[in-house]
Point group: D2
Chain length 470, copies 4
């Protein structure tokens, strides 16, 4: 029966550019600063005078384009690119984006960040009518819907298709004569527009990618919008009026790079404020504040600043850990062999520690870190989490599929505290989080999606409705 | 004429273990935490019942042992390993260590961190007598000297050879029946002994490698010592009595991992104290303190803590930058395309910044970072360096060959400040540095080598004497 | 506009097996003996209890499955495989077969040897109706036609699809419960059925693949047949009654391996008879007969045996030439540097030579070989070709697209003789060829396709009609 | 204890050139035609204005120089190259030649075809005096002897060293100002000099390499000679007067390429005469003569021509077999799965066959081929071997180490016939072989080494004396 639902769920990064003589090279550098959004695979498609050419493969961007000829062959003035998230299991190059399609009437390319909630239903319908899919990614569906539309222009077909797909999505498309970008009606996923000094427009999942290519920020793409960029410039249209902001709060908490801004809010500053709020909401007497590298360092420094407790480097992350396939055996693990994180004995020995982390999913990582600190001599470890407890799955683009994976879905704070071996455990409150981010949009939760914390999904869930009850 | 002197100079990491059933695997994890000491190449030699087997190659450890069979074939109860520093230019696998020698009367392996000051002279002499070298590394020399010694036992031959080589060196050797470790008479390079729960002894360039394999710290190797580890346990002997501590101060400032201790001093704590000292020696009014990631973060947090000025994440380092061969063209650079470091506009815009860095070599990196911050809107950038000005080359294992490479050798602070575009520039004082580290050994400069700052070389320079005058 | 027609045309090899515990391994060895039919890429799909898994890549079979895990993961009792011909230009892995499709209602795999004459028209129609192709191979079309069929069973859908595609084709398909093989109505391409000792059925492009896996020959697939093999055994059906034998004569002359039999005729023996016929039709006084290695050795030995002139090894082929990318520069070529073929001076010097070759396409190879022999001292070189002059393109699976590529389409024998520098040149007659092969089927030309020689195409040409007039 | 003797024994190919602007490229093409002499590894060293640069690696020449930059970096006017034989077990790149040495007083490179009989003794002596070897190849010894010589000029040192090494050897050496070639006092191994049209001199293991680079044959190197080629031209000197021809008869029988001449005798012609002699010495009534591809085809055609029995292609060799690592399992082998050789059923079924092969070593291959033919329906298989029975090991460069590996050392013809399942078995006589080759030099056996057949070793055996008695 059918394809696996699991690999549909991904967190990715997209980039697009129109009107630059080194379009694919700029895309490469843009994707480079989005690498944290996906390390499984990468690809770029360029448009050279209406003819599209692409290269994609499994691996980090630097692996995929390690041979410079792979990039150099992608000539042309426009380009889109994609980095893909490493889901569990082995990937296939067929699923790596952008997807490049060559029809008798033209070339098209497509890349996507997000997750559709009605992908399975749509695919089933298309296949019943004779359609053939070549990946198990839900990204391909949009192209089938476009090709099956009977509207006259590509733009109208695209709009019709965008109204059929549901969930969280940020698309970039490249045709022979234009670059398109489209965002879901809730703006679940981030997508920003910038302009380079030379005038070329770029779109990217995060503003850090605009910065990295020297582009000035123009504006965020708004929910329900389609952006069309071609030689005549940029046009902004909408494909639906039924929109409401529900920006993924996990982007602020964990995913996005600290130097990115989302809807005008700097991510590092938001995290630092979360840390400060935590310090106010859940103070504790201690000798030092330690953050889990790298994503929790901003929140930890905020906690330290607010509390007046020194901020110390009590944990060190091995920066070369990325791609090792050799793991310690169970025997070695028991002897204390470790690879990724080290506790700094000289810093933590005999000390009371406030450990700031950004989330607890299964709890296994937290337990390991607490143990690491205690083995290195820490007297007390007080865990402070800069997100509320994760209790519900996400269906809009983050790879948390079922409640079973979420320790907070079935355990109290006290139970979790025991399980991870902490001396105390506190989470930021939902209100504290919302205020720390400070979006203030005219929408529920000030415009944030808080569903993973409280189950209040801002949209119908379609194919996933059943997952909630499992 | 002759081989190139340049590639002799290297900063590396060594590891050794005796008496563990998974010796080469433990060595792999030990080297993993020494990866920051050398990314050009890696190798491991194991001893399986007296027969030595090795694997080495160019690349990161995870590349060299990416195919697990490369590690799995290295069976046996003892092992030594090495990571090699990426000097400029392309390397050759012939230079990757450990070197493995197969003689009619036994197998030997050898690895080395440091630089010999009389390597050229010794090599010349050996070649004149018919000796043949197969690498252009100075490591090979020790084995020639050992083989040419007429002493009876291997240990005595080794001691005789150790008295012939001059400079900075930390050797590990593996024979059919023992593991040897030896340190130069000045202890220029770090070398520590640990013991695993199972009783196996390990030696490593830094204590972080002991931690990563769960070994308890036993003691540092002292200058002029030879450590012999075999099935009977550990024996400590000396090959010379003419010793004097001159521990490389750059290990504390820049090279070593923050979680390592050298001669009892934690590196992170030393750096944090350097930051505090800097704050006292060179205060300035500002909105925030920023460290250059990753090596200057400890010093920056010390500066912030001492000064009471908030510590912020104003620079973000792309953690995936390691191995890209594709660089921005000049045109793209001028448009603002960047790869490695990004300034966080949302944090630094309109702000007066204290930028803490650990050293200025040529000045080009500092100039780029100051420009980055100013381009992102920083109002003022005050640079504070947690090392004194680098004015003299190092011949004991750090790859700074000539004064020409050192901007501080020929420019005043004021000139450097102008060149890097800073609003002010201050370096820590020599005394401030010595006190911050706090070694307090009974030797000049409390036991530190300060030669790169003041030209006071603690040993004769032999083949390099001429370099000082160039 | 649209996809390139050129890469549609390919000569390939297919293999399939049902009911063997090491199905994919047997397929590997079967494909190994079909490697001469395609060196651009290879792939295998296996059926493990209804679930299909595949691996394919560019390169020789031994490259694609060089890592044994690539083969070992293809578990299951049934399998199909494919080797693909190296057309000019760079290939893409997307075009490598078998194609593996995963639908909501099941998995399917498909591989193909041949060329469709109405591929462009069919693809255009499917795309107009919203279908999406993912390769520029014409193989994919069959699956679209099957999926669009409204028949009830897979077998009926397949038959309907087989009636829509035109040209030369030998298909193997794998579903969750059966292996299918189908041949075009003219039997342009060879396809044979065998049975292993264990009872498992195999199908293969050539009988040499049956031999190489120890399978006994059962029968050739007949034109218009569909073979269905499943756990119940083998069933033979037809999808059309409008059939007529037109077996590709170039299979006997050049493509097939000498140890294969096609429709009961051994290829080596047929070639030897062509040589004998040539000796009778075009005798010449000479010192020795030489064949161009390797494909013309059978014909040359036949010529020698019939004429009584000694057969000598006057040309040697470098067996390691396969994959070198380094070519002699023009300067080196002029100095006489050669890679592939060498003339044996000690054998040919001062001798009158009969050079037997199997075909002349552009004439450049023949000219080079004649020059080689003359440079090595040959006194006379009389060229004898065991095929009639190639004057017309092939549209049924051989990569000869236009008349322009065929020297015999625009030059007389006398002109060609001058161009290649031979002392005389003769081709076998059409009748001589037909009699040498000795098929004797009740069809024009005894059941052979002779279109490349006389333009008498046995079918309508559809999309290629225009190519004839260019 | 010590290094393994086994890997010392190798059959290799060498090439050298002086005075050509594309020296390394010419060397590449020269080695290409010597690839049959060694497939384990390859390397080239070039001389660019006195500075030597090299590249070498495991694998076929086309793999080692697959990236053209590996060849392109080897600039300069002179070059030497080497292809290495695949001995059993895994090789190491350290053993791949040419060896490149960089001394304070100059660069040297060295490559070698042959085997020294006193290698172990010499190595032992050098190591005792402190010398260090870096390979387990005996080639390295010569350079140690040269460096230890106290003669004044390089040439005199080389001559002194050549008088110390014993056995079979053909050396090429490259220095900053000359190319040297040297042959052992018995001319066991072939070595020929040629001259290109441009005037550049080349030396090569076989004349086919001269042909392949368009060089005219000048003369064979004679036993005991040293050839010096530099910008002043070629000089021929001798290092010993105690010489006697003992050319390896296996070069004529099996190793050399058929288009090579050795001491004026064409190898193909010699093999054809061996076949004719066999037909006279051991006639048998049969339907056809079949040769084992590829090395026995010349002898088979000679047998056919002499006997008047037709020569047929009854065995086909898969030309793509070279590098597959996937082998049939025992189960598949029993089902008849085969990879390398196929019998042509359509040719051999029901026929009496004369199978001509060039040698029987262990007998396992012969048994497999006879079975192959009988399984394909052959009625009788009469085996005829174009070499006398192999009864003694070779210590001069062919990888036959011990009598145990040689079936003829311990079995009668009748026993071997039974073991291989032949209907009859005959070997050529020693006299027949000598006359077929027709060297006619004024030395025992007309100048051939016949030791593998009759144990009459033309030199003292030194380290190997004991092997004869095992």
């Amino acid at each position: 029966m059918s394809y696996e639902v699991k690999s549909l769920n991904e967190e990715c990064g997209v980039f697009g550019i129109w009107g630059h003589p080194e379009a694919s090279r700029v895309t490469y550098f843009g994707l480079h600063s989005l690498q944290h959004r996906g390390q499984e695979g990468a690809g770029i498609v360029s448009n050279d005078q209406g003819k599209l050419k692409g290269h994609r493969d499994l691996g980090l961007l630097t692996d995929v384009f390690g041979k410079s000829e792979n990039l150099e062959k992608l000539t042309g003035n426009a380009s889109i690119g994609h980095v893909r998230y490493a889901t569990s299991g082995t990937g296939e190059v067929n699923n790596i984006q952008p997807f490049l399609f060559k029809f008798f009437d033209g070339d098209f390319a497509l890349a996507h960040n997000g997750n559709l909630t009605n992908a399975k239903t749509l695919r089933h319908e298309v296949e019943k009518e004779g359609g053939i899919f070549h990946s198990n990614s839900d990204t391909e569906i949009l192209m089938h819907l476009i090709r099956r539309s009977e509207k006259e222009t590509f733009k109208d077909r695209l709009k019709e298709a965008l109204n059929q797909v549901k969930g969280g999505f940020a698309y970039v498309l490249l045709t022979d004569d234009a670059l398109y970008a489209a965002l879901d009606p809730n703006a679940f996923r981030p997508l920003a527009i910038g302009q380079m000094k030379s005038g070329a427009y770029v779109v990217a999942s995060e503003t850090c990618a605009l910065d990295s290519v020297g582009a000035e920020f123009v504006r965020d793409v708004e929910p329900g919008e389609v952006i069309i960029i071609n030689d005549a410039g940029m046009t902004i249209e909408t494909y639906t009026k039924e929109t409401q902001y529900s920006i993924c709060s996990m982007e602020y908490i964990y995913f996005a790079r600290p130097d990115s801004n989302i809807k005008g809010i700097n991510v590092h500053s938001a995290r630092k404020k979360m840390g400060k709020t935590l310090a106010k909401e859940a103070p504790v007497e201690a000798d030092m504040v330690i953050g889990v590298p790298n994503s929790s360092l901003s929140a930890a420094s905020g906690y330290a600043e607010e509390s007046g407790i020194p901020y110390e480097m009590g944990l060190v992350k091995n920066q070369y850990v990325a791609r090792t396939f050799i793991q310690p055996t169970q025997e070695l693990r028991e002897e204390g062999v470790r690879m990724k994180l080290s506790a700094v004995r000289g810093v933590v020995e005999g000390k009371k520690i406030i450990l700031v982390d950004d989330s607890i999913v299964r709890g296994t990582t937290s337990r390991r870190i607490v143990k690491l600190l205690k083995d290195a001599g820490a007297k007390e470890v007080h865990v402070r989490i800069s997100a509320p407890p994760l209790k519900y799955p996400c269906f809009y683009g983050i790879d948390i599929q079922t409640k079973k994976e979420l320790i907070a879905a079935s355990h109290t704070n006290e139970e979790i505290k025991e399980l991870i071996g902490a001396d105390s455990l506190e989470f930021i409150s939902e209100e504290g989080l919302i205020n720390s981010i400070g979006l203030n949009l005219d929408a529920p939760y000030s415009g944030l999606c808080m569903a993973y914390f409280n189950g209040d999904y801002p949209t119908e869930l379609y194919d996933y409705q059943q997952n909630l009850t499992n």
